[in-house]
Symmetry: C2
Subunit: 315 residues, 2 copies
């Protein structure tokens, strides 16, 4: 095509084909999408904005940007034990660029197909590059962050620190060999929403969330919402091999405070631990909840551990 | 407060109180909001982005920006004959500014209360000022744009051209007296979603949409979606008094092609026109649908009327 595509052509050519799937009565192209909610259970919805230069480098692979945007958003559904149904896209672009759009759309729709979620609407505007996605899912047994009690055990769903350690590589501040570069890009742009794990623990866990701002900050949110404190034993924390390779002796701090891994942090009452252990999941027990409002206290081999940062702040 | 509020404080202080209302099981503060959909009918959802410097002046009254953002989004629900239930907000701000946020939140929540819609979640990020809203509503009898047929009559729900004529005033390019300034701000920032009218015509209309891009462009969307053409008789078009006052002899063109009024354009089959007339609505018959794919043809006092523009293009 010789000319830059306009708004309606962008929507029609790149995204309209995606609006099919469960519950989609009417997809892209009208004032609203029309959706049929499941007869039972509840809807779960979450919205995330990714801004160029802040959440991803402006010149990053458009397909990787799209994949990260959707995976991050889907992770919120996973953290509530909701299965994905629909999502919408608000795309703000400095200019209409057919090649960038094609790559972005390919990455977005490939990710959508992988997780079984349908693009049902959105908006495209001109302006500084920014992506806002809203996902809507369905849950019969939601995992909330306000159900934890003193005595509950604290778990994480996998090793932490990879995405935080990868960030300097993604930003071009740290040069590494091609294989490490590939691992860094995978860790940062392709986090894995923990749907299967959330489903497995949904009848046992008293609270859960996804670790987006950093373990200690996010566990702090469970503490505030549930009215408890937490003791975390950092020697039990699983540190991602990539974090050890890239961050050296700072790897533990990256794992404790770095965001963007999108593993789950969840709590399980003492009386459910035996059932949990029978599930033989690859999870890591890292601490215990206590009474009071002291927040999250960290220990390392029996000594108090002082954190220099408690998570990513957007302002 | 001596310090600028951080992300969590913004959410907690300014928006969290709003998350109540019909179907809200769990509002702001967890990974997802949890929502209970009505037992029958369908959900309708729409997303709109407003970018500073493009959709509103960066230094506009924050409460007015918020009101316009939500009203524009609600208008999409009205156009589908959906009543509002919930909405989410993605707010990107260059810096954390407590006074701006307070005014924005006041305008947003006041508008939300007026239309009975609950803020259930969102995201705040740092970056160039931009607002993305997504509304979710409920409809038992949706008004779509693909149901029109040749012979249907074309209507608009009220006078057009006010918002387009107001734009130069809003942008500071046209100086007017204080009363006209007030009317211009009302027309641009406080469009009225046409919920009552949509409900009244829902059993009679064959198609409907809200006029956001301009009458001729939006009627063109009905033509494409329904596979019809349209003849529009511009002498029957109701031109807003403000458009006549501000745009003079260009008022008719503003009414035909200017966007942002958010009146409805809808079509009614011949055999339903008598019933429609009995409703005694303040609406305006402006044309007729025909066969073919000739798009929208305009006439003025019997002569073909050439438009110099067919609506706002975002790129």
């Amino acid at each position: 095509m010789g000319t830059a595509p306009g708004e309606f052509e962008i929507i029609r050519d790149y995204f309209a084909s995606a609006a099919q799937g469960e519950g989609v009565v009417l997809g892209i192209g009208d004032d609203c999408a029309l959706l049929q909610a499941p007869a039972s259970g509840q809807l779960a919805t979450s919205m995330d904005t990714l801004v160029a230069g802040r959440h991803f480098p402006e010149d990053a692979d458009p397909a990787a940007i799209a994949a990260r945007a959707l995976r991050v958003n889907l992770s919120d559904l996973a953290a509530m034990n909701a299965r994905p149904l629909w999502f919408t896209l608000a795309l703000t672009l400095p200019r209409s660029d057919a090649q960038w759009l094609r790559q972005f759309a390919d990455g977005l729709l490939q990710t959508a197909a992988q997780f079984g979620v349908s693009l049902v609407g959105g908006d495209t505007t001109a302006g500084p590059l920014s992506i806002t996605l809203q996902v809507i899912g369905h849950t019969e047994m939601p995992l909330r962050r306000d159900g934890a009690s003193p005595g509950d055990h604290v778990y994480i769903s996998g090793p932490l620190g990879a995405a935080a350690a990868a960030l300097p590589v993604i930003l071009g501040e740290q040069r590494v060999d091609p294989e490490t570069q590939r691992q860094a890009e995978a860790a940062y742009f392709f986090p894995e929403p923990q749907f299967a794990l959330a489903s497995a623990i949904s009848e046992l866990a008293s609270s859960a969330l996804d670790i987006s701002d950093g373990l200690l900050a996010d566990l702090g949110h469970i503490c505030v919402s549930s009215g408890v404190s937490a003791d975390v034993y950092l020697e039990q924390l699983a540190v991602a091999p990539l974090a050890q390779a890239l961050a050296g002796k700072e790897a533990l701090e990256r794992a404790a405070t770095g965001g963007d891994d999108y593993q789950l942090c969840f709590t399980v009452p003492q009386q459910q631990v035996a059932k949990l252990n029978k599930l033989d999941l690859e999870i890591f027990a890292i601490g215990i909840l206590t009474e009071g409002d002291a927040g999250v206290r960290c220990w390392h081999n029996g000594n108090p551990w002082q954190v220099s940062s408690t998570g990513y702040k957007h302002f």
